[in-house]
């Protein structure tokens, strides 16, 4: 265990936000789910007891008759905002006094940093570069992420769970988001920051970041493994494999979507366009871990090789 190395990585000023991330995200996830489960219990009660549903104010927050339904912003909201501003300022001050913003050597285009890393919030994308060509990881994926995020309200036809925490009523949506945000984004950021060392190689926490480390790793294209040599044929073959993956994943996603009665009901409310958009996004999302697995487990570099692009 190389504690010196571990400390070097963790104490890097720019890695402090990652430490924050690793604390804050689990905390708020727990915080949200505590609320969601409380709400879900209330929902069960209300569903079981229609009478109660008629009279209850339908929130877990306490409410008694006679209490004002609305309160004045001044002072009830403003004081909280004020408090928040004070606390944030204090935290920022302490952080700024105790920890200096990094300033390394003057820029030197001839001396490549090893590892040279993008800012931490883009490390997820940089990590993706390992698995995909830059045009996918650096251009297509970010675009799809943005487009996908924007599309969420337009393809989520579930009218429930609007304005309150719930798990029960939005299982599929929440799982999708969690796997996207936490697993594919935050975890990749953490990997990119703390795990990837010189040569963008994998170093477990506590392993020395050894610049001399050599790993025998031959990644081959799928067609090479199978033994197709003709470019036309393996182009077609690759296309077929990708298409097959799309079809299979789409089918699986569809199966997943139609597993429960409730989901089928929601699915009924979707237009075809909404459905196809969702399929596209979900298939792409599944594609990432699929490619990761193919790369890490089977050492496959490309599945589909064409003269213009490779997947």
């Amino acid at each position: 265990m190389d504690w010196h190395q571990l400390w070097t990585i963790l104490s890097l000023p720019d890695n402090v936000p990652i430490i924050g991330l690793m604390i804050v995200i689990p905390f708020y996830t727990w915080y949200a789910f505590r609320q969601a489960f409380a709400n879900d219990r209330l929902i069960e009660q209300l569903e079981a007891d229609p009478e109660m549903a008629k009279t209850h104010h339908r929130k877990t927050q306490p409410f008694l008759k006679g209490w004002a339904r609305e309160v004045h912003v001044w002072p009830y909201l403003l004081r909280i905002e004020f408090l928040a501003a004070i606390i944030v300022t204090a935290i920022l001050m302490v952080w700024s006094i105790t920890l200096d913003a990094p300033l390394e050597e003057p820029a030197n285009p001839t001396l490549t940093m090893n590892p040279s890393k993008a800012p931490w919030y883009f490390l997820g994308l940089q990590e993706m570069l390992v698995y995909f060509d830059p045009w996918i990881a650096g251009v297509v994926m970010p675009t799809l992420i943005i487009v996908g995020l924007i599309a969420i309200p337009y393809i989520d036809t579930n009218p429930l769970g609007n304005g309150y925490y719930t798990y029960k009523q939005r299982r599929f949506a929440i799982w999708t988001y969690l796997s996207g945000f936490i697993i594919l984004w935050c975890v990749m950021v953490v990997i990119g920051t703390l795990i990837r060392g010189p040569g963008w190689m994998w170093f477990w926490p506590g392993q020395t970041w050894d610049h001399n480390k050599l790993v025998f790793e031959v990644n081959r294209d799928l067609h090479e493994i199978i033994g197709i040599t003709d470019p036309l044929i393996y182009g077609i073959f690759g296309f077929l494999v990708v298409a097959g993956f799309v079809v299979l994943t789409g089918f699986a996603v569809h199966k997943l979507l139609t597993m429960t009665e409730f989901n089928r009901k929601i699915l009924d409310r979707m237009t075809l366009l909404q459905y196809l958009t969702m399929q596209l996004l979900l298939i792409t999302m599944v594609g990432l871990p699929a490619k990761m697995a193919a790369r890490l487990l089977f050492r496959i570099k490309y599945v589909w090789v064409t003269p213009w692009f490779n997947v």
Binding site: D2, H4, Q5, P62, L64, K65, G66, W67, A68, V71, Y76, R79, I80, F82, L83, I86, I87, T89, A90, M93, V94, S96, I97, L103, E104, E105, P106, N108, L111, N114, T208, D210, H211, N212
Partner: protein, 1001 residues
Amino acid sequence: MPKPAAPDIDPVVTKSLSVPLLVSTLILTLTLVWGIYDEVYAMRPWKRFQADFVELYSSHLAKLKPEQAAKEKAVKESAEYQDLQQQLEAAEAEARQRMEEIDKVVNRGVTPRLLTARQTFQVIKSEVDALTYQIEVASSDSAKQSLRDDIAAIKDRDVEITLVAEDGSGEITTAPMKFAVLEAEYLRLQNKRVEMQAERAKLLESAGQIRAKRDAYQANQLAGLNEQQVDGLIAKMDNFGVDIKQIHLNDSDWVDRCESCHLGIREPVEIKAEDVGGRAEFISHPSPDLLKIHNPDEFGCSTCHNGNGRATRSAVKGHGRHKFWLWPMWQKENVQAGCQQCHAREVITEQANVLNKGRTLFLNKGCWGCHRFEGFDKESDDLAQVQQHMSIIADQKSANEKERRESIAAGDTEQDTDKADALYKRAELLTLRSAKLDAEYDALVVDEVSLVQEARKFGPNLKEIKVKLRKEWVPVWLKNPHDFRPGTKMPEFRLLDDEIQKISAYLWQNAIDGKLQAHPQGDAAKGEELFGTRGCLGCHSMGEGDDTQGGTFSANLTRVGEKSNYDYLVRWINNPADVTPDPETGETASHGIPVMPSLRLSMPEVRDVASYLMTKKTDAPYAAADFMDDPQMAKEGLTLIRHYGCAGCHEIRGLEEEGRIGTELTLEGSKPVERLDFALLGHEAEAEGWYNHKGFFERKLKDPAFYDQGKVKAHLEQLRMPNFHLSDDDITALTTFLLGAVDTTLPEHYRYQPEDDRRFVQEGWWIVRRYNCVGCHQISFGGRTSLMGVPLYQDPDWKEQLPPQLYTQGARVQPDWLLGFLENPALSETDIHRNGIRTYLHARMPTFNFSERQILKLSQFFMARSSQSMTYVAPDMEPLTATEQQLARQLFQSRAAPCLKCHMTGNPARDLRATAPNFLTASSRLKADWTYRWMLEPAKIAPGTAMPSELFRQDGDRWVFSGPLPASFSGYEKDHADLLVRYMFQLTPAELSRLVAGGVQ
């Protein structure tokens, strides 16, 4: 507001946030206070340093004050001071009366009178000026005329004016005055005041001169500051302002705040750590001499020392000793690396001994054989450049010629006369251009000839080994040269046994198989004496361990008999420039002539020395080496020789054009540390704090295979750099040199690249170092020659036998003479087995194989070092009158004048005992002004010289001989030393023999 009906209180509206608000506000206030504290105090450690310094330094000064006061008092009580003081007082007293008169008149009479007059005068004058302006702009003549009348009226007006009397008596008179009168009076008073003030200044002049003399005397006699100056420093400390002390270099926008903490650096008092409570950060600069030529106000601090001059937050930041500062402050032992940044052209930089040692090692250990370093092996670079230039000129010329021919041809066929004329003119122009190119080309040819002679590889020519060496010795040597000859320049290559065999085989089979002239044996005992006294030990050493004597510049010859061929040694000692031609091709060594000079020994002497050297051997056994004749081995050897880069230093057949195998080191110190290959040791280095250039270099030099540690590599993949077995001091010196080998960020004008005579000094040192002139001669102050360390020369009788010091050689000799002497130190074409000037010296100035260029550069070097020009026109010398000649001769012959006891006279038997040159050589060799100075005070020119001082004493403005004078001198009013110089410079052989014959011998 409606109250809730239920007993429950609505938490949203009733819960108070006061406590969290209060607490968080308090915390915020605290962080603000913290922020301010951090800004004002924690981040400004220099404030504490300054407070400490003021306290410590003040108390040191308080201690110093009485000491200096006592010293000052002692000086003031000395007779000389008292004398000057009395003179001063007398002069002041003399001037006092008249001065008081002047003061009275000026202060009480002239000045107040002048002021009053001026006031009135100026009022009227401004009125007149205003009217004059109106005249200038008035449109009509009549208006102008009336204005003129107005002016006349004003000037004609009587002004009542009250003035004090001029003599200072205080009398007051009131009188009417017209403008013209007033003006005259005003100007007169002004003049008078100036005159009187000038008179007053003149009165003070003599007192002022005496005072300056007195103060100068005090300053000269007093070590350190006087009491008043110490008081001044104490006052400075009392009024010390705590603030950033900053040097800002405007031209380069360089900022250094080092003195914010290092406050004692430029104090006029020498501050040692123990003076200021052991605080080493407060000491004064250890080398004030350096600061005199590198004034911090012009050079800053971090320009030389590195570090981050702006940073004031902590020592770590300021010294730049953290990961992200590319210019960390040099460590103390490597501080001279800073010199190299700007003095990169030099091999010797005054006051930078560690750095000089590093450069000299780089030069003399042959590092440049494998590693290119700009400036080292400049001859080869220059040669390539000159040759390239020559080919360009040749091309230009042939193009020129072609166009010329074409122009003429075109002109011949042209019908139009004007056009034909233009074409002919063109052809003429081209002819002239070609002529100019020819001249340029010829100049380059001269350079080329010199450079071809100069450029050579560092090590011995291996094409000669067959005639030079004992065959069996070669593999033994290759195994580890340091076993055979500790301290040799040839490094240890960590070769495997079969590699040694293959390399030896290649070298042996590719050596020239020439025939040497056979020589009879000489007398080894005589040879030993010659070896010890002729000056061989200036470069070579003899003996092992503590018995070693001689210089380290060249090989230690303790076991030379084991390896050498006697006939070869004879040839080599006789003339190292002799080479064996290849019997088949007639080819000889392709490059350069050896550094080893010819000592101009006679052939019997040569044989004696060679015979002596052949006795220097042990009876170590040598295994037969038949494999060296195996052609297959040789074939494989070639690859290995190429791999190990042997041809970097040695001439080897088949590898004449081989390049260098090492990294270029010219900018090694600027190479990013990431580029230095720490191999598996990078993390260890980081953890142990040597992950930097210094750490890398030191370990690499100590053990060049260091970074192979832990690596699994095939033998030929391992690091190739051989082990030089350097001492720790050598490593520090080389590290210093390499650290300073940077691509400096300093602006161009900081770099020391003089274009005037100082450049000759820079260039000359390279030659001096290359030929090891300093093995025998002291050239820079404090330098010790190799000969000075040889036991023989410790004997007082042998001290005079040391070769002459050359500190001020340029001032001593005439440049033309020097050129001739360097070319042929025997100063004779026939009688060559001797020294040209000091025949009595056992050590012999050898004949070096200098090129024309080198001789010129060396002469320029010596001249420039003494601020002399290369052109010397002997000053006109007053001819001796017959009487003077008589006088001078008498003085020379007088028993009180010992000149002829030591100086050579041309009598061979006597000259053997002489210790100084012949006077006959003076006029062509010496400069008269130097000779004059030399006679008066030789110890000031050459400390430790045999020439005694105080031969002359001062008598008024002239120098007279200090011993009893011949009677005829009574009435001779001129300078005796000058007389002797003139006599010497006009001495003829005939006069010398007359002199010697009449002498008191």
